[in-house]
Symmetry: C2
Subunit: 336 residues, 2 copies
DNA sequence: CTGTTAGCGCATTCAC
DNA sequence: GTGAATGCGCTAACAG
């Protein structure tokens, strides 16, 4: 291990000068700078990042808590986070929680032990353990795309209510009247917002909603498959199915095809997220585009402000969505 | 910042005892342990991870270099790495390189500065800069799914040659004779292996290969789209297209459909990776399944052995693949 | 089993 | 502009 002392001896200066040369070169004469740099080069010296972090008390790392790594929507958010972090000299510690509370606790405690300076949560749960909760009040944390209930942490999200309305308006404009809904986690705020948005339009149009048309409990492909089976068992079949993310929509389309039905001729399908593959499905999926990359960037920027104790302009950022109309949705089939 | 000293005063013991109680509880009396734990609780104390790492010299973190975060195949590998790391008390620093050499250099240098103990490379390039290369010889590094040429680092990969053969045998058994190939990065070893495997079977069967039937330069959806356009412009149209990953296959299928052709009736399509969505495409994709998750786990386990300076049994692990036959491939169309 | 002591490698006072 | 000295928070060696 070549350390700062060795370099200082090699250069014939003090350790302080070496440190200064590397951190704030302007404080040092050009001549000594050259001497030091030559010695650094010759010794193959790398400042020990751990040691300097102990001194400054900041790790320049953040933890990102993500329920899983298979949902490409999350990855796109993380890409944005990572990019912004990289630009500002921060590193990203990946915390794949698998949705398990204990894992969340472990990763969250990394901030408490100075291993990371802040935390971005992609799920809707409060990640700290009971025991840590009291310590957690002052630590920098941001949630993105979801929202942590009953807590005052900043969050970045979509106007999910308006997005829900957009989807429903779109389908109604095609003459649909019977809808199926396949949800993800129902405990989260985004479910409530999206669903409320959809229902508000139905109410305005005088369309009835039946509880049996709402199925699904998780954001997975299989949820779509099982959802279709349940929905098509109903007395009145839906002519349009609203899926609460693109993964569910993928399973939904797959199962509809398997049953020999056509999309959108027999049933229209819509999603949420506008994941990369959605544009290339057969047929391409109508969905709500979320600016995932940008959401990630924003989340990091807000987090960094908290870390640097800068005052936040606002603790809530709502980003614009866009309804992307593709071929998976179309006119309702005429009555037989 | 509550530190170990405050806790020691609160508990009426020395700092060493506090440290011991937390790290190796068996070395202290039950009674003092209780005293200390009570004080820890009361002070809301968390050991400063940075400080203890400076002492031990190990960060218990590793860096994972990944060309991009949108390819779900990579994410599955990272999931395996992260899982294995978590089990052994390591954290994963995410290094999204975007395939850029400078980014690789930066992330790789984290190992040189004690920010991480080791490195897993998912791309095929040597990640260190010219300048760092000499220091890099002794650092723990593993590559997975790709292989770093001219270097002696361990790697985990598939028998890509055999997999290439399997794909070609499958298609030939369906009577295909005219093939198109849409490749990803041609500079990598896996391209050479897979392609050589395919070609070896063609040679054995006396089937000719024409350079114009090989197109594509990157592992992206668009590559598939452009690839199809190029291939279908040829004098003799292929009846089967071998894509070098599932993303390319996705674009390929999309463009074939857009041109009004049917899969597999007019053209068969095969992929590589068996990404999660591939099973749900319309039609489902025939592809080579790679045990990505397991590859990630293995890579981490090998890396940890290197970090701990344990001798490696072997520096090369070949994992089994599997040809997954789905509906995107079928009998060659009969001659018109 | 516990306390004292001495660092880990570096950044930052304070003199000069 | 530079050097000497101090300490970040913790762990490990040694004594007792």
């Amino acid at each position: 291990m070549t350390n700062i002392k060795k370099v200082s001896e090699l250069a014939g200066v003090s350790t302080a000068t070496v440190s200064r040369t590397l951190k704030s070169p302007s404080l040092v004469t050009e001549k000594t700078r050259e001497k030091v740099m030559a010695a650094v080069q010759r010794a193959g010296y790398r400042p020990n990042w751990l040691a300097s972090s102990v001194k400054t008390g900041r790790s320049n790392s953040i933890v990102v808590l993500v329920p899983n790594l298979v949902n490409p929507f999350f990855m796109r958010i993380i890409e944005g986070i990572e990019q912004a972090a990289q630009e500002q000299g921060y590193s990203v510690l990946l915390g794949d929680t698998q949705g398990k509370g204990m894992r969340e606790n472990e990763y969250a405690s990394m901030v408490l032990s100075n291993r990371a300076d802040g935390l971005i949560q992609l799920d809707h749960s409060f990640p700290f353990s009971e025991n840590d909760a009291s310590l957690a009040d002052t630590i920098p944390m941001v949630s993105v795309c979801e929202r942590i209930p009953e807590k005052r942490y900043p969050y970045i999200e979509l106007d999910n209510y308006a997005a829900g309305r957009a989807v429903m308006n779109h389908l109604i404009s095609y003459g649909h009247e019977h809808f199926g809904f396949i949800a993800g986690q129902r405990s989260s705020q985004i479910f409530r917002d999206r669903f409320a948005g959809m229902k508000s339009v139905m109410d305005e149009e005088g369309l009835a909603f039946d509880d049996s048309m709402l199925v699904g409990e998780s954001y997975q492909i299989d949820t779509g498959i099982e959802g279709v089976r349940a929905l098509l068992d109903n007395a009145t079949r839906p002519t349009a199915i609203c899926c609460f993310n693109d993964d569910i929509a993928l399973g939904t389309m797959h199962e509809i095809h398997r049953q020999g039905l056509r999309i959108p001729d027999d049933i229209s399908v819509t999603g949420f997220d506008n994941v990369r593959v959605s544009a290339y499905l057969n047929p391409p999926l109508t969905t709500i585009d979320q600016p995932a990359y940008e959401m990630g960037r924003r989340a990091f920027n807000v987090l960094v402000q908290m870390i640097k104790q800068e005052p936040l302009k606002r603790s809530r950022e709502i980003l614009p969505f866009q309804l992307v109309e593709r071929e998976s949705s179309g006119p309702a089939p005429s009555h037989s």
